[in-house]
Symmetry: D2
Subunit: 270 residues, 4 copies
């Protein structure tokens, strides 16, 4: 296709320090709740994640909700809490920028700036990310073809930032009993066409927690440079994507299983 994102040359390593590398022999676990809801909730979540030895914490302050009547995120207050988490627990932070009105603020706190699926076509945001000096995770829109996904990735790469992670998080299908379907067939094509590191998100890819452990194990065996999983200290009270977050006990068991599966592929899960 002649896209930058499909060039077969070496890409700069995406190395967050302290051995956290998205690379050929390491898979990075990024876990945490969907949204920052309160100081208590986010500190409880971070303490648990850090306690498992996981190094990258995910949580959203600016939430791309589809309904104006749902919880909309804590915005800048949420971002400030993430900065505290980073300080206090030594965790790296991945969090989402939805649009240009707050992108600068997000980039100041985040170790990895996430561009969510619904913003995948936002030129201004992509170009902004392309000028950052930090890694960016771009999620595939749930109805984007792989070609479109790689083309939009080029909007970032062309600005100079080459530390880009591509994330498959499920596509929309005709099936009403799943929220999305994890497109591993498409992910295999991505891995064939691009050398950019691949991250898989099994939580959004089904939308219901009963299926997340199975899908997460599939992702680990499939082989990816990163995993993004939602876990919440109190799943019954989660204010965002409540049905898909794992509880702490389930996640802890799953994490142990995933390490074993990654090890079989010659990968350390960090």
């Amino acid at each position: 296709m002649g896209l930058l994102s499909t060039e077969k040359t070496d890409w700069p390593p995406i190395d967050l320090g302290d051995g956290i590398v998205f690379g050929p022999d390491k898979t990075v676990m990024m876990a945490g709740p969907c949204a920052v809801e309160s100081r208590d909730q986010i500190f409880q979540a971070a303490e648990f994640i850090a306690g498992l030895g996981i190094r990258v914490f995910r949580a959203g302050a600016f939430k791309p909700r589809t309904s104006p009547y749902s919880f909309q995120g804590l915005d800048h207050e949420g971002l400030a809490l993430l900065a505290e988490v980073r300080e206090r627990f030594g965790l790296k932070i991945i969090t989402e920028a939805k649009d240009m009105t707050h992108a600068e603020a997000v980039a100041e706190v985040a170790d990895i700036v996430q561009v969510g699926a619904k913003s995948m076509y936002n030129h201004a945001l992509l170009k902004f990310c392309g000028r950052l000096d930090k890694p960016v995770l771009l999620k595939r829109f749930f109805a984007a073809t792989l070609k479109e996904f790689l083309q939009m990735a080029d909007f970032i790469l062309l600005e100079g930032n080459r530390r880009l992670l591509l994330c498959e998080r499920g596509i929309r299908t005709f099936e009403p009993q799943t929220r999305f379907s994890l497109d591993l067939s498409g992910a295999a094509v991505l891995q064939e066409q691009s050398r950019l590191p691949l991250v898989l998100d099994p939580s959004h890819a089904i939308g219901y927690r009963f299926g997340v452990p199975r899908l997460a194990r599939a992702c680990a065996a499939f082989g990816a440079e990163g995993l993004l999983i939602e876990v919440h200290p109190n799943v019954e009270q989660a204010q965002c994507d409540r049905d898909q977050a794992l509880d702490h006990a389930t996640f802890a068991r799953l994490f142990a299983e995933l390490r074993e599966i990654c090890a079989l592929q010659g990968r350390e899960l960090v």
Copy 2:
């Protein structure tokens, strides 16, 4: 659903003056090229459209292209040309705002601000449009459910602007030989659930000009408050969506046919 967009109360008429009303007995034709490409091209296009007695001119200055290697639009220069078109030909202008970096500028020139399909989830842009004192046309994202579409419409309505047009422009399907499929089945549900005026876009809904006249006739007979059709003075040299623009002669014939079909439904096509 309890959404504002589905309330069965009366909505303010969307009346652009001079008899241009999106309403129960009038359908508004909005026609023009995909993009502003040059002064010559846009003046030639506008002269043709005005000559047919059509009152609303469409053309994009800020283009939401999927490839960074395609023509990206003339941006502010294109907007200035649209302002000239408006002055010189007395045409009303509908043009797209992609994101917040230029939304203010677009709103100054446009008579109707268009939010394109790829920006349908952009909260900041929707809220900006909700505070405008002019009509807004919101396009359904090509993989948005009708519920999502109406929810995102509420982000605009909740800010106070009730002059909102809903536009169906084709959904993505498994069929590789069409770019999109015009979802008239979905449009029928929209008309059942919402009293907001409906606009149909047969040009994007197939992507190839050979099918546009048939689809446009179907849209007119289906019944809609507005039609959005692409036409270009020199289709072979169009720099954007070249395959779907109609040439002038074909469009002129089609426009006459559409007036007759609208008349059968008790609608004047203006």
Copy 3:
């Protein structure tokens, strides 16, 4: 593609006699209930259809139901009732053969043998139809690409029967509020690629009666050689596809509108 179904030579006219021709200046209306349910119901339906001057009656005896717990059709008894309808009301009959266990019996009664969407890949049935000396209507499976549809059509044509009608009846999409979406964009491609007559089915293409008149009008303006519409003498008690059948009064009004729209296209609706 090198398919028989896409050859640009002349095809034999599909002429059922008495001026019923699927051709360039005539569109054939095929109407009736989804299923034969009882002698009373089917006679009442046929009397109404014949009374409107419509010449082709549709109703299924062998129903391709998705649930084994739904009404399954009257099978051979239903077929016998259709033979009576034909005799008594002088109507031509279009009815479906699901598989080889009853194809012979269906072919004896039907004036047009319908192969339903769910049987589109049934080689044995297609080849059987290809050896018949009567017209066949092949419905596009709701997830078949146009190429697959035309390829399966060739299984019929290659056996020698060239009197084949292609029917678009809606495709499956991600939208939960419609049963299917009428793929007029795809139908436009079909008309570009194949000279076989096209039939459109607006009833199955949405699944809910509130949208059928709008879709039917769109189909008439789009231009097709045939229309297939469900109408039932007692919609509340229909045992099959209850939600999509039109009542008699609505259908009669619609039929008059469709004649006018067809007339605008230079077509007589018979």
Copy 4:
């Protein structure tokens, strides 16, 4: 849903003898070429499969091809070769019945009768399978909802045969670079709703061999009672689904990896 297929009672074990059980602690590998092409080809394939210690051999004699111009299978001659394979190599045979014209013959040779995706709605075939005294594998149609799949399963179960395997083999999506997408999200719902054994088919689920090992590993870690994988002695000359068959060396390596992954889940891969 009140379906037999979703009953939470115990189902009869699907035990082919010699320790081949689709059950909670065993996963059955079913491997072989897409089609029986010749005595040489099928014997070479069977010898390789048997040599790896695999016990169930897959190959089709009656092929549900979409194009009449492709290789159509050896039909009864292919079936006779499968009977020879069974005798000579002691392999169990899984092979497909497309329709009633040959279902009886297939049932005489097969140890597991496969109903392919394109025949999932064939009532006559399903009912025939429901009266057999041998296991049946029902593939989900590539655009069937899970509810439809389970409903069609009931057409078999209601006739009395409870030895039924459900197979997910990929769904059709908007992505042109994959043939299908393995719907593991849907498969997770199936496992939640039904206790019938689940079989996954990673070969059809992408259609290109480069992705099959990754997908197969994902399937093994996901957890399934059976795997169905295509492998061919001479991939360049395969006459059916050529692009997706693995060569012998790749398959042998993959099989070893899959055993390890299954072992992690407490499952023996037989």
